[in-house]
Amino acid sequence: MAPLKELITQKLKDKFGSVNFEFSEFRDELTILFDKKNVVEVCRFLKDDDDLQFKLCEDVTAIDWAQRKNLPTGQAARFTVVYHIYSIKYGFRLALKADVDQSGCSIDSVSSVWKTADWEERETYDMYGIIFNNHPDLRRMYMPEDFEYYPLRKDFPLMGIPGSITLPAK
């Protein structure tokens, strides 16, 4: 069998001919950047394919680039959603990335592929304000439900916004 890295690259190219994948490697770890509209089908393929079997979704998070210049995709997307997935059978870790623009600020939910993505996407929504379409229960996770801001965005001040979270009366 070819090394899994080449296998993934080849299989994705064969299966999704019309999708533009950008493969990059850092310290033997493969990262794949692609358009957000294909996220569910790509994830489902990586999970269900017998030779890959990425059955574990380790993490869903996001990056706020704030004032990034020289975007890899050439467009000024503010956020990048990052998925870390793991093939338990083949012992291989893979990172998937998809850019999300600030206007609209949404991406399809992969909680139908991996159940664990449910809470991970809720956390990402809580911290970055990225809306996951078709999510079964998109509520805040850490912050109070009536909180109006997204704390891990770069324009959120470190000490918070005074008065935005109430304290009990003395």
Binding site: E145, F156, L158, M159, G160, I165, L167, P168, K170
Partner: protein
């Protein structure tokens, strides 16, 4: 106690009500262990035989606030947790005291951040602030002795006319 050997015959002592009540109060301070994070480990250590908080009559850690005199807030209080801490404090019967144990509880500590209350004195009346991150059990015992000293100076009727706290209803908590 050694006292009975000195008292012959009927053994009657005269004292004031204030002195007797204060003496009994300060030697049976029942703590409410509000253990929120790592300070709670040191608070538990204070209860073990090596440090033995029972020497001060405070070994009765009650997990219901209705039987407690002293709330030991041990750990980082977030804005969300603040409502819980306050609700439990309100359930404790008067007279009651509060120890802010550790740097986080006293001032936010190293968590200078949007989600941590920068000192629980913003919503609770604190009697003793306790330095350390986390403070050692000896330090907690020292704080308890300070509380005892404070209780020793109180008058028996001081707390009788105190107003009951208003009941705060918060839908989110």
């Amino acid at each position: 106690m050694g006292l009975e050997a000195k008292l012959t015959h009927d053994g009657i002592i005269t004292s004031t009500i204030d002195a007797v009540v204060a003496w009994s109060r300060k030697n049976s301070v029942w703590p409410m262990p509000m253990g929120i994070s790592c300070c709670a480990i040191e608070m538990m250590a204070a209860g073990d035989p090596k440090y033995d908080i029972a020497r001060f009559g405070s070994e009765v850690m009650r997990f219901t606030p209705r039987q407690c005199d002293l709330m030991i807030v041990a750990g980082t209080v977030t804005y969300k947790m603040a409502h819980v801490v306050k609700k439990i404090y309100d359930q404790m019967p008067d007279p009651k005291w509060v120890i802010a144990m550790g740097a986080c509880t006293s001032s936010g500590g190293m968590y200078r951040s949007y989600n941590v209350v920068q000192g629980i004195d913003q919503f609770l009346p604190v009697d003793v602030y306790l330095a350390g991150c986390p403070p050692r059990p000896e330090n907690l015992l020292n704080a308890l002795m300070q509380i005892q000293e404070k209780i020793g100076r109180t008058k028996a009727r001081e707390f009788q006319d105190k107003k009951l706290p208003g009941i705060a209803v918060n839908q989110n908590n």
